[in-house]
């Protein structure tokens, strides 16, 4: 067992964990942050994507012990009961989710992606989405929502 100190969505967390505990299970079972979803558990579906130190990673391919000292942000950091963020609102307007299972991972990946690629082409957005399996929407409304989001000014995106 190993003690880890980290911040999760701005909150300081100190927990003792088994080395084999995945970050996804740590977030869901220890912290009750069930917005991070568990799909394939081998890095393919993207549902578990979260930010670690501002960078999007697969929560299922990271051990909780490896996040010692890190800042972790999950989908709950966006709008936890409050008004939707600009990206979430774009998803709502475009009906970019049906069952919503893939949505948290896509939101977190997009936030990181646009930091490094502020004005992505449609093709680049589609390529990003290749790492996120959605079985409901057929992707067209997801692409439309992200295209809409990146058309916003930088200040509009953080609204």
């Amino acid at each position: 067992m190993t003690e880890i100190d980290l911040t999760v969505n701005g909150r300081t967390v100190r927990e003792v964990v088994e080395p084999r505990l995945l970050l996804t299970d740590f977030l869901r079972h220890r912290l009750g942050l069930t917005g991070t979803h568990v799909g394939c558990e081998h890095g393919v579906c993207g549902a578990c994507t979260v930010l670690v130190d501002g960078v999007s990673v697969r929560g299922c391919c990271l051990l909780a012990v490896q996040t010692d000292g890190s800042h972790v942000e999950t989908v709950e950091s966006l709008a936890d009961g409050g008004p939707l963020t600009a990206l979430q609102d774009a998803f709502r307007r475009h009906h970019a989710l049906q069952c919503g299972f893939c949505t948290p991972g896509i939101l977190m990946a997009v936030l990181d992606f646009v930091e490094r690629h502020p004005n992505p082409s449609r093709a680049e957005i589609v390529d990003l989405l290749s790492g996120h399996l959605c079985r409901c929407t057929g992707y067209a409304p997801i692409v439309a929502a992200i295209v809409d989001f990146v058309s916003l000014s930088p200040s509009g995106r953080t609204a």
Binding site: T2, E18, P19, R20, L22, D25, E41, H42, G43, G46, T49, V55, S56, V57, R58, C60, C61, L62, L63, V65, Q66, D68, A109, D112, F113, D127, L128, S130, G131
Partner: protein, 278 residues
């Protein structure tokens, strides 16, 4: 599924990592980005007794001293947009997993894992790159061509770690192209090809590198195809080179593609890559 139980040590230096690995014996494994290892743990395909975490062992970073030296735990994403990185590697990088996995996956990890369908090992062999390893017998350099043995198997000795890979810079008189077919973007390659052509003043090919992967168990130079290109313009020999490449490989058929399809695919990708590098 969930990983089996293992012990965990976070190494704070290369020396500590090597010492802990030596103490841990054959069931101790290093972990870098974990984008192949953690899925394998989750599926219980591997059951190490001890994981030695290299992420804070000071093995990351890119430097240049006539060659490009890429620390083992440098994230694949860190090569994105770095102008010093060889154009072949930059064109292959978008095919390495997905945006999110490249954020965590490391260059050295991909090399050490030696998946026959991985792009970075293919590029390393195509560019005559070098793998620097350290271990109980000290530091040594292994040419990429001598590093890969077969699927998931390298000439790394017990207790050794990849600490750095060394890559040439792109040259003005050289043209290169990378081609890959996967069923979906980010999936493992069905076939992939790297072509590097050097030309003389008249435009004739005077050095040729044609390397294939995924249809072979490790990155493989097709020397007969390379010979065919010498002295040509490249484009004029592309069709014949593709046909020769299709005969030169002998992939097993898979659930997705027959052996005959994969041979023809290899030929097509070789032809396209030569045309693009011309």
């Amino acid at each position: 599924m969930k990983p089996p139980a293992f012990d965990y040590v976070r190494a704070e230096s290369l020396a500590e990592a090597l010492a802990v690995l030596a103490e841990g014996g054959p069931d101790a494994k290093p972990i870098a980005g974990g984008q192949s290892l953690v899925p394998a743990l989750n599926l219980r395909l591997v059951r190490p007794s001890l994981l030695v975490d290299l992420n804070r062992a000071g093995l990351d970073g890119v430097s240049a001293d006539g060659m490009l030296r890429v620390g083992a735990t440098t994230r694949q994403a860190a090569l994105d947009g770095d102008d010093r990185v060889h154009p072949l590697v930059r064109s292959a990088l978008p095919f390495v997993g997905h945006f999110v996995t490249r954020n965590r996956g490391t260059v050295g990890g991909s090399i050490a894992h030696a998946d026959g369908a991985a792009e970075l090992p293919l590029c390393l062999v195509a560019l005559d790159g070098v793998v620097v390893v350290d271990g109980p017998d000290g530091r040594r350099e292994i040419p990429g061509a001598d590093f890969f043995v077969t699927h998931f198997s390298t000439t790394l000795r017990p207790g050794e770690l990849v600490v750095e890979t060394v890559w040439p810079f792109g040259q003005a008189e050289e043209a290169c192209a990378f081609e890959e077919l996967a069923l979906r973007a980010g999936d493992f390659a069905q076939a992939m090809v790297a072509v590097v052509l050097g030309r003389d003043g008249s435009g004739a090919v005077q050095s040729a590198g044609v390397t294939v992967g995924a249809v072979t168990d490790r990155p493989t130079r097709l020397t007969e195809v390379e010979g065919l290109l010498l002295g040509s313009s490249g484009t004029e020999a592309a069709a014949d080179a593709g046909a020769l490449a299709a005969r030169a490989v002998d992939p097993p058929g898979t659930v997705h593609a027959s052996a005959r399809y994969l041979r023809e695919l290899t030929g097509t990708l070789v032809r396209r890559a030569i045309e693009r590098a011309s």
